[in-house]
């Protein structure tokens, strides 16, 4: 039951940043695709409405229910990932989609959130010494991480797999890990890089090479990054104006409504618009950290940290990628990029943050 005093605690900062970012996303998708595929922005709008409708109950119920069902949600999520791998629809070579009637969903998006839930639940029950997590205490969290990580990497979806990795590392570091484990495992990780290289697909290697040496792949991702920089740079201070961008709508940019939505936006709204979007993200993420710090129990603290890390890494990797600071990996921009499952996951995450925020003073 929702109580009056709970209503008084609604986190307007989270609601407004979430909503404004989602609307900016729909406007940018419209501008990027109204010429060739005008139905895309409408679909994104439907997803936003569906998301908003689902957010309401998620905000209202006490998050302790998430604590109780965390492992169930996690297990269901892993099963859908396996299902997608076996029966999934292949789009652009990766098996990511499951069709449910008239919509297709991408289970790997929801898996991010269920992974955070399960890891939060597990870590909240652990008695962590002052020195941090020991080796034995790391076994279960690592298993919780490795299962979805491998399933997603198998699809193959390098971007999503990376997100799992960064969120996992962030949460473990916040909980603290014994120094004598941290140092060797970081060293082992670095040593693994050449081995991991062999598991990458040819195109994934090409992207990494072209990041280190942009002239190495001038016909592929090197060209994409150049066009992305041209789009952003040509926006200058005030931008070319809504729907006036040419890089995106003229198809110089690949995936201009998904991974490369930010250049489309920055071309039309310039530095003035770009800084506003970055500021909105900054508010959202620092607010997320604030919610975590104010959390009243370990589960909610870890959950808020995990969700904030999810927002942060998505945003930072995507923005870094389109501005030529990071290699091209398929990581979309939260709330802005086209994609129903992704938007829904981001909205759900936001709703959980609000839920925690509302209850921080209630015992």
């Amino acid at each position: 039951m929702i109580e009056k005093r709970l209503l008084a605690q609604i986190d307007w900062i989270l609601i407004s940043t979430t909503l404004v970012l989602a609307l900016v996303g729909i406007a940018s998708i419209y501008s990027a695709t109204y010429l060739e595929e005008p139905s895309l922005y409408q679909r994104q709008t439907y997803w936003l409405l569906i998301g908003a409708a689902i957010m309401l109950p998620v905000v209202i119920v006490d998050y302790s229910i998430l604590d109780r069902f965390a492992y169930v949600i996690y297990a269901a999520s892993i099963l859908t990932l396996i299902f997608a791998l076996i029966f999934g629809r292949t789009v652009g070579g990766a098996q990511r989609w499951i069709s449910i009637g008239f919509v297709s969903i991408q289970p790997s998006e929801f898996a991010k959130l269920s992974f955070i839930l399960a890891l939060s639940k597990h870590l909240s029950t652990k008695d962590v010494s002052r020195k941090g997590l020991g080796l034995e205490q790391l076994i279960v969290p690592s298993a919780l991480f490795v299962i979805p990580f491998l399933l997603v990497a198998k699809q193959p979806d390098l971007g999503t797999a990376l997100i799992f990795f960064f969120v996992f590392v962030s949460m473990i570091l916040v909980v603290k890990i014994k120094t004598k484990i941290l140092v060797p495992s970081a060293a082992a990780f670095l040593a693994m890089i050449p081995i991991g290289w062999r598991f990458l697909k040819v195109y994934q290697r090409a992207r990494l090479i072209s990041f280190i040496d942009p002239t190495a792949d001038p016909l592929g991702s090197g060209y994409h990054i150049l066009q992305s920089k041209i789009a952003i740079g040509s926006g200058r201070f005030f931008g070319k104006g809504f729907t006036q961008g040419t890089q995106g709508s003229h198809l110089f940019l690949p995936a201009h409504h998904t991974d490369f939505i930010f250049p489309t936006f920055a071309e039309e709204w310039g530095f003035a618009g770009g800084i506003v979007v970055l500021a909105l993200f900054c508010i959202l993420i620092t607010r997320g950290l604030g919610v975590a710090a104010a959390g009243k129990d370990r589960f909610s603290f870890l959950l808020a940290i995990g969700i904030t890390a999810l927002f942060f890494w998505h945003m930072a990797i995507n923005a870094g990628m389109v501005m030529g600071l990071l290699p091209v990996v398929g990581v979309p921009m939260p709330f802005l990029s086209y994609g129903g499952s992704f938007l829904l996951t981001m909205l759900l995450s936001s709703a959980i943050l609000m839920n925690i925020s509302m209850r921080r003073y209630i015992f």
């Binding site: 060739e36 302790s64 292949t90 652009g92 070579g93 990766a94 909240s124 029950t125 962590v128 193959p156 570091l173 916040v174 909980v175 603290k176 697909k201 040819v202 195109y203 001038p218 016909l219 592929g220 060209y223 150049l226 066009q227 920089k229 041209i230 789009a231 952003i232 740079g233 040509s234 926006g235 200058r236 201070f237 040419t246 890089q247 003229h250 198809l251 110089f252 920055a266 071309e267 530095f271 770009g274 800084i275 970055l278 993200f281 900054c282 620092t286 950290l289 975590a292 710090a293 959390g295 009243k296 129990d297 370990r298 589960f299 603290f301 940290i305 930072a316 870094g320 501005m323 600071l325």
Partner: protein, 641 residues
Amino acid sequence: MKEYFLDKEPKEFKSRVFFALWVVLFAFSVLVIRLWYLQIIRGSHFSELSRTNSIRLIKAQAPRGIIYDRNGGILAENRPGFDLSIIPEDVQDWEKTKKFLTRLAGIDEKTIEERLRKARGRPPYRPVKLKEDLTWEEMVRVAAYKFELPGVDIDVGQKRIYAYNEATTHLMGYLGEISEREYSEFRTEEENPYSPGDVIGKAGAELAFEDELMGINGGKQIEVDALGRLVSVIKNINPYPGNNVHLTIDLQAQIAAWEAMEGRAGAVVAMDPQTGEVLAMVSTPSYNPNDLIDGVSEEEWTAIVQNPMKVLTNRVIQGLYPPASTFKVITAAAALEEGVIDPSTKIYAGPSFKYGNHEYRDWKEEGHGTIDVHRAIVESADTFFYQVGLKVGLERLARYSTLFGFGQKTGIAFTNEKNGLVPTAEWKKRVYGAPWFEGETVSVSVGQGFMLTTPLQLLNAYSAIANGGTLYVPQLVGSVDAPEGVAIRKFTPVEKRRIDISGKTLAVLKDALRGVVAEDGGTARFLNSYGLDIAGKTGTAQVMRMRERIKNVNSIPYKFRDHGWFVGYAPSDDPKIAVVVLVEHGGFGASSAAPVALKVMQAYLEKKPEITPQDGSSGPVAAEKGPPAAGKNDGDGGGDL
């Protein structure tokens, strides 16, 4: 809620949140500085690049790999050709451009509109192909006016050319522009190695070995001025040609097969029975694959697709026919192995066999008398196998058919191979909802009724008999070379399975197959006079039940005439080549199919002088007409119901 959190409040972690805050703020500062750098400091530079759309990618198609026969004869290669394309972004005056293109290169406005319409949704700086393979004159005329026609471009493309025209059509397949479906689904890699407009193998070897043949496309990143003229090449990556594929095909056998099939519909396929290497593959009627290279018009394509003779079908792997009398060998194998008969069992094989209230006729009016299995195969005695087949029973017939590879794909590298059909009682129940009648087993025992095979399946089964019981996966490629000529892959025979059958039974079958050619009363007796030591079996597949025995094939309308089969190998004691021939509506197998098989065996075993490629559009030289003097017209008739 559990208890422990009360004394384990998250306070212990909170200092780390401040650290996280600093990380976040640092990251945002970097992003803001980068945004500032791109939009403010470098803004005018990027603005200029954006305004002129001046950085472009020009694709360079990789030359396709060359296809050779087993002796290094070229089957498919490339020649240069000129293509005219247009970059919509750069066109200044559409009216003028269209008028000029009509006058200079004979491209009418309708074609231009249609090509542009098809390319909608592609970036406007991407060239759209308007006409392929310009003549020299057209090319020179357009080049002379090029500066008045910004956006019009001529590039040198690679054109595929098939040296033997129709003779290798179904073997080579053909090329075409990549379809939307192929573009999105053909590949499993996320970064598609193709781009719209690329040429891709659509059938035959071109499709089966696409991965080897395609090569790696290159391209240039160039800077152009406002009129689309090249200012500078920023980056150039040369295309890397595709690998060269050496097929196992023997050109002489291939050409002999094609010439012998002149004017007839059907299929010929030859194989080295010791390895499963395919030596020749011909399906007729055919079409000239060179005509499809530059993209045919919609009407021409429709004419090919809707041709009542189904010219696109590769009958070798997609044609389904009753194996007819060629199947008697399998019935014999089942009967011998299961102990239903032994080599000396003699059965009365009269003019007809009564079963239930049906009378099943033999092809031979006067019957065969009392004979053993050897003579029954030699004379192709229907009434002998009706009785034996019934005793073996449907279930065991099906089991042995499956063992010999019927009813399943052979596994050849070509796509869309048909399965064929080995009927069983369950199958009939499932498909027709009706029970199996014993009388139908009578038909199956002579390869009629529901039984269906592709020519390649039948050949594979006979190859297994010829080589002593090994079923191979038919193989088409011997080796693959890198463009520099170094062999990078060699292929060895792939065994599908050992057929679990005794050497004694195999010896009986092989003796009998030799007898078909070598003994008096054998149905392919005339082949013996060519001295190749041929062994084999004729067959005549019923298309329609005939009430009367009709000896004069020409008196029956074409579509009701029987299909003629011959399948065999030579030399019989050490087989080097196995051949199957199917002539659709050819009448008796002995007179229609066997002569074709003979030609192919002769071409392969008695190497004739080199064959030179035919030039240009004329088809291969017609074969000498008519079958070699066949003694008599007595094929076998199959069981008449």
